[in-house]
């Protein structure tokens, strides 16, 4: 049977068909839907959200050692977090097959950078597969699980946004049943002391030789021969772009396995064509292997080494031609994402925005990063998950020592706090920092599409779970009880009082702004804990003094046309604008 699947759905399907028993992941675009779909197979495959990517990979490693086929999934930057276990796992190898899915985001559709994670495969020396479409996404996960066991290596399945989020037809097959491989203690294999590590390192070289031989013989690295004028080497989604551009008259070497590289096959192919092109997105990964082997080719001197490719770019790069197209003199303006109408983060950032001249606000990654956009502009740094509190700590230390009046506030989401924020807060408490930490607890992992996390009370498989208690965590780390406040960020006076109190302290303090994301599917507990009755705000046009203060909240439901107006469709009655209006012109009414 054939079904249309996204690349991510296909990865989940392939893992299921391949006899997977364990999957763990931390969400991150474009990888998130893999585990969300994996959970549909929960009768056969245990699935979970881990607090971060390192934990996810380590859990998958443990499952593999215990004899199960396992998988960990993450976005490209997640592999940075998981890199520590990865590099040593490459030495120990596996028991049950283990696949690490890295979903890269060329062009940064929804990421802070666009690193090319193919480099991880060669740096860690793990076998790498690169699917070009949904069918291959499914096939390569299954193959990956087999190769992992065959060569005793973790396998990196490297995919990209376009593959993850494109749909194509996929042939479905039955699940192969894989029992747990009986566990035995294997201390010399799995205890990476320097003594054992040295032995494992030598064995790794032997494994690399075997994998290289396989790479040269496998038919996922395959030639499609047509003419001898032009040859194209490519992998992943770039291959389908190359096919569109170079057409049926060129010859191709399509690489499905790109570490170890099939250099013998490449040399043979190069001999068969007069002109050789390498078409690849981001880094010259394939190209540098060719250059090192002295094989002349045309690649990055023509084609950009950054950004997402598409057939237009490939065509322009190599042939200098563009398709005929229609154009008009008018230009569309960009449509930046914004905090939703009713977002609880708005109250927090409105209060911070009023004080921001006296503050350095270190931020983190999540919906709340949108607090950096005008008109709020109340976040001044953001680079990686968990970094807000630790960067704030470093900044506060040097500012304090230099006698500066600037105070540092660090804003972090609930999921991000659990991800790596806790360690950073430990740094603040332990080393007597004084930056103010604000945990924006909207009861869900919102940015990536509402995944459960250790604080929400549910697991990925929908079971009730213990809720990690953020105030208790802070206390255990060493933040004093009297310096921890939980507030409703939509009550601006409460929010402001908490910030002022924290600013008056010299000891580290934590404010937890606790209110559920307006787009969240509320749980029974949410309905008990929060007053979530549907409301809306309306402007009394008579009373409106046209001062536009309400527009300073950056709410997308508010427009100005003679007077302020609130869209009844999008307003949720959060009341932030009502509190901001000095003239009482905005009223809150029940729906």
């Amino acid at each position: 049977m054939k079904k249309i699947l996204t690349g991510n759905e296909a990865v989940a399907r392939g893992a299921y068909e391949g006899g997977l028993l364990f999957a763990s992941a931390y969400p991150g675009t474009p990888s998130t839907e893999i585990l969300e779909n994996m959970a549909n197979y929960r009768q056969d495959v245990y699935c979970e959200w881990a607090p971060n990517e390192k934990v996810a990979l380590e859990a998958a490693i443990g499952a593999s050692i215990a004899g199960a086929r396992s998988m960990a999934c993450m976005k490209h930057v997640g592999v940075n977090v998981a890199a520590d276990p990865l590099f040593t796992f490459a030495y120990t190898g596996v028991t049950g097959g283990c696949v690490l899915v890295s979903a890269d985001d060329p062009g940064m559709h929804s990421s802070q950078n666009e690193q090319d994670n193919r480099n991880y495969a060669s740096a860690a020396r793990v076998l790498m597969l690169e699917p070009a479409d949904s069918q291959e996404s499914k096939d390569f996960v299954k193959l990956g699980l087999e190769l992992s066991e065959k060569f005793d290596t973790p396998v990196l399945l490297r995919t990209t946004t376009r593959v993850c989020h494109s749909k194509g037809l996929v042939e479905l097959e039955d699940r192969v049943t894989k029992e747990l491989i009986p566990y035995e203690h294997k201390i010399r294999k799995y205890v990476a002391t320097p003594g054992n590590g040295k032995v494992l390192r030598v064995q790794l070289e032997k494994r690399l030789e075997e994998m290289t031989a396989f790479s040269n013989s496998t038919d996922i690295n395959c030639e499609e021969l047509a003419g001898d004028e032009i040859g194209v080497i490519s992998s992943g989604v770039s291959f389908v772009y190359a096919k569109e551009v170079f057409g049926e008259t060129a010859s191709y070497l399509k690489l499905g396995m790109t570490f170890p590289m099939p250099m013998e096959k490449i040399k043979e192919f190069a001999k068969k064509v007069k002109k050789l092109y390498v078409v690849e997105e981001m880094d010259p990964y394939i190209e540098s292997h060719l250059k090192m082997a002295g094989i002349p080719c045309i690649g990055k001197e023509c084609i950009p080494a950054y950004g997402e490719l598409n057939p237009d770019i490939v065509r322009k790069a190599f042939f200098g031609t563009a398709a005929e197209s229609v154009s008009v003199p008018l230009k569309a303006t960009i449509r930046p994402p914004v905090l939703c109408a009713g977002c609880p983060h708005r109250g927090l950032f409105y209060v911070l925005s009023k004080k921001q001249k006296k503050l350095m606000i270190t931020g983190d990654i999540g919906c709340y990063t949108l607090g950096s956009a005008p008109p709020l502009s109340a976040m001044h740094t953001c680079f990686c998950m968990g970094g807000s509190i630790s960067a704030g700590h470093g900044a506060a230390k040097v500012l304090n020592r230099a006698g500066s009046d600037l105070r540092v506030v660090s804003v972090i989401g609930d999921s991000t706090f659990f991800h790596t924020g806790i360690n950073s807060l430990m740094d603040v408490a332990y080393n007597k920092g004084n930056n103010i930490t604000i945990v924006a607890d909207n009861r869900i992992t919102a940015m990536t599409g509402h995944q459960e996390n250790p604080g929400t009370g549910f697991t990925l498989m929908g079971e009730p779970a213990v809720e990690a208690d953020i105030p208790a965590i802070c206390r255990a780390i060493g933040i004093k009880t009297e310096n921890i406040t939980v507030v409703n960020p939509l009550k601006l006076d409460e929010m402001e009082a908490a910030v002022d109190a924290a600013l008056a302290r010299t000891e580290p303090s934590v404010i937890i702004t606790k209110w559920p994301c307006i787009l969240k599917k509320f749980s029974d507990q949410d309905r008990k804990d929060f007053d979530l009755k549907p409301r809306k705000c309306v402007v009394d046009a008579e009373e409106c003094k046209k001062c536009k203060m309400c527009m300073k909240t950056g709410c997308p439901a508010i427009t100005f046309d003679g007077t302020s107006q609130i869209s009844a469709d999008s307003c949720t009655g959060c009341g932030v604008c009502r509190q901001v209006c000095k003239f009482g012109a905005i009223k809150e009414v029940e729906r």
């Binding site: 929804s110 389908v240 057939p311 563009a322 197209s325 008018l330 230009k331 303006t333 960009i334 930046p336």
Partner: protein, 191 residues
Amino acid sequence: MSDVKNILLVGVGGQGTILASKILSEGLIEAGYDVKMSEIHGMSQRGGDVSTQIRYGEKVYSPIVGEGAADLIVAFEKMEALRWISHLKKDGKMLINDFEIPTVPIQLGVEKYPEGILDSLKAVADTVVIEAGEIAKQVGNTRTMNIVLLGALAKAMNLGNLDWKSLIQRNVKKGFEDINLKAFEAGFACL
């Protein structure tokens, strides 16, 4: 690969482009085409723009519709039509929903919503303006705007022979099947 047809559905998060393209691609598959479809919806839930690219034919490789390659662009919002016009084929068709969603910088008065979009597009391309919001209202539910546009798309691409009734019944929210069918028919008839 000239038998491959290219369609773009563009709009703003929350407008229902993704459901419309899901129904369309399912229909195309049932009709026996090879289909590739690509969606970029990074931050769409937070008011960003959304685009879906659908390509169908005997054999389709790339999921991406290039510049000057779209046979049809269906813009659920006017400024999004402008954003994607360079992707239209010289003799392609543009269906535009006469509907404006300002960006936040526009709401704040920092930028301006471009004026005269419809006229300038009409001057360079075969452009049909559809009052999908109005039609959906007449049908009885403004939220069926996306299905009205899907109906118009079906007419424009000569896809009336797909099993739309069953496709819509299977894909829309329970209890809203009939009203969506009506919306589809109204969209189909408006072209």
